[in-house]
């Protein structure tokens, strides 16, 4: 009927005008409730980045760019600078989604207005701490290297000593048959270089040592045969 709908509408607005106004977020004082996945501002974690460039390839709007340099020693790509030109960003999540190390991520910061265009751009320079860290890493690597070398030499000397002391027993590891072992022992005792080579091979690669030992024995036997003939 005419008028009934009007009165109903009036009643609805009347009821609502006495409702508690908790829908309103009084923004600067009261921050809005943001969901966990909210995409506010794009942020970058320099240390995690491996400079793979997937984000840059994924970005539809050329927001992201980076500068890399080759590390002189390891020939690895080294990230020098990472730029997020946020004014072109559409917050589409394509870069963050495919980042293998999660070095790109969204924060909940949504207050992105700036007075100047340049301030919107976010440039991440390579932090000096990172270089220092890397340098520290390198020296410690070298230390371990020398330590390993020392250990190797020690082992080698011990092996040579062992061969000198008891050739029959030690050389039995690479050769079968007493005769052959005796021949090999004789060869090695005669030549110190060959002894050192054999000892090293016995530590690192037994198979190779076996082959080489066999070759030594054969050669020696041949020479002996020649000598015998003469």
């Amino acid at each position: 009927m005419y008028g009934k709908g009007l009165l109903k509408g009036l009643w609805i607005t009347f009821k609502h005008s006495f409702e508690k106004k908790d829908l309103v977020v009084r923004y600067p004082e009261q921050m809005p409730h943001l969901q966990e996945r909210f995409r506010g501002s794009l942020a970058f974690d320099f240390e995690k980045c491996i400079a793979c460039g997937i984000c840059i390839r994924n970005c539809p709007n050329n927001v992201l760019s980076m500068e890399t340099a080759k590390d002189e020693d390891s020939k690895k790509k080294k990230l020098m600078q990472y730029t997020i030109d946020l004014q072109y960003c559409m917050f589409c999540n394509l870069c963050v989604e495919d980042c293998p190390t999660n070095s790109l991520y969204f924060t909940h910061d949504f207050e992105l207005s700036q007075f100047h265009r340049d301030d919107i751009k976010r440039v991440y320079h390579r932090p000096p701490e990172l270089d220092q860290q890397e340098a520290a890493q390198k020296t410690s690597d070298q230390d371990t290297q020398t330590a390993a070398d020392d250990k190797k030499e020690k082992q080698l000397r011990a092996m040579i000593n062992a061969i000198n002391k008891n050739p029959q027993k030690v050389l039995a590891r690479v050769l079968d048959g007493e005769e052959q072992v005796e021949v090999l022992a004789a060869v090695l005792m005669a030549d110190e270089k060959k002894l050192a080579r054999m000892a090293e091979m016995m530590i690192t690669d037994k198979e190779k040592a076996k082959k080489v030992a066999l070759a030594f024995v054969k050669k020696e036997l041949k020479e002996r045969e020649k000598g015998g003939d003469q």
Binding site: E36, R37, N58, M90, F91, C92, N93, L94, F106
Partner: protein, 366 residues
């Protein structure tokens, strides 16, 4: 002797109720509309051209920007088009979640329609109540994708992320409260006699004209033509759900309004079924990082957007970018009937007609 004269009045592009940058050049005789010409292109962002310089996955966020009021629907259409072209299968769970998101988008778009129609007819408060309820859907989108309006949640081969646990409760509680919300709209907007006078019998579009102009979506169904792509040519898994297609009888503004109001309820039914049947599993198939359809491949895929038939026509040239991408934007085609439904009406009817045709200028101008 008094002399009367016809005059031209420019409604828009700077006008409070043209939903963006729409320009209607109306030839008037006093308050009566003699003719109306629609001028478009004020929101042209050359999205189709942009697509030619973006790889296939990169275009997804741009698709969101077509119909920003129901951003899951255009991305869904685009992803399905590419999947159809590449023969990519989508996991079950992703299909269900896509349906849920798409239908929530449809509800939110229709809520905006009801609200904006109310405010275009002068009932400012109607908009606020609709926005209040739409806010809950926006919160759900933020929960799942991280963005409220332009979510870009769909991906080629699935969806971006699985929904968080909190989503189910939020979705269920929204669906539970929906009848109450619709009651409120009925009380404040639908039942209002002034509003009924404004839109009943106004802007009548005959079924023949609607078909001749290629009108689709709720505007076509308001004319009584049962054509919903979800039923006529089910895409995704829409054939598994039970829902009705609300139809109008006369094709006037009132029918267009009622059809959309009813569609909200049907969408809610679909979401409820999808939530009940939601399987566990993957949400995204492995898709090669670089998609390269072979040269000469082309595809047309269409979905039922909240505005009508949203189609993507993609031509590939063997590269990782489309050679050409065309969007069949329902808003654009639906707007073309504005002159024929406005002729002979009043100036105020043009406003009501624009409102009930429910154009999104971002999609129409692309």
């Amino acid at each position: 002797m008094l002399q009367t004269d016809q005059y031209i009045i420019n409604i828009g592009p700077q006008h409070p109720s043209t939903h963006g940058g729409l320009h209607v050049e109306a030839l008037m005789d006093g308050e009566n509309v003699v003719d109306a010409i629609v001028h478009l292109g004020y929101v042209h962002r050359s999205i189709e051209k942009i697509a030619e310089s973006r790889t296939y996955p990169q275009f997804v966020p741009y698709a969101s920007r077509l119909d920003y009021l129901a951003s899951h629907l255009p991305t869904l259409g685009y992803c399905q088009a590419v999947e159809k072209m590449m023969g990519i299968e989508v996991p079950e769970r992703a299909e269900y979640l896509r349906v849920i998101m798409a239908e929530f988008s449809r509800i939110s778009s229709h809520l905006i329609f009801i609200g904006s129609m109310a405010i275009d007819l002068g009932a400012t408060t109607g908009l606020i109540y609709c926005l209040r309820d739409r806010e809950r859907i926006m919160d759900m989108f933020e929960m799942t994708s991280g963005q409220r309006m332009i979510a870009s949640y769909m991906r080629i081969g699935g969806i971006a992320e699985d929904v968080p646990e909190t989503f189910y409760a939020a979705a269920r509680s929204f669906l539970d409260d929906l009848p109450q919300m619709i009651d409120e709209y009925n009380g404040l907007i639908t039942g209002n006699e002034i509003l009924q006078c404004r839109i009943k019998g106004v802007g009548t579009l005959s079924a023949e004209d609607a078909i001749a102009y290629g009108v689709t979506g709720p505007n076509l169904r308001a004319c009584g033509i049962d054509y919903d792509i979800r039923k006529a040519e089910p895409y995704g898994i829409y054939d598994r759900f039970e829902f009705d297609v609300p139809l109008g009888t006369k094709g006037d503004s009132w029918n267009r309004y009622i059809v959309r109001l009813e569609e909200i309820k049907e969408s809610a039914r679909i979401i409820e079924q999808a939530l009940d049947a939601l399987p566990q599993g993957d949400i995204r198939t492995k898709v090669p990082r670089v998609l390269k359809p072979e040269s000469g491949w082309e595809i047309y895929h269409r979905i039922e957007s909240s505005k009508g038939e949203l189609g993507y026509y993609i031509v590939a040239d063997g590269g990782n970018k489309p050679y050409r991408l065309h969007v069949r934007a329902p808003s654009f085609i639906n707007l073309m009937v504005l002159p024929i439904i406005s002729r002979g009406g009043k100036l105020q009817d043009i406003i009501a007609n624009i409102a009930t045709l429910d154009p999104v200028l971002g999609e129409s101008d692309r």
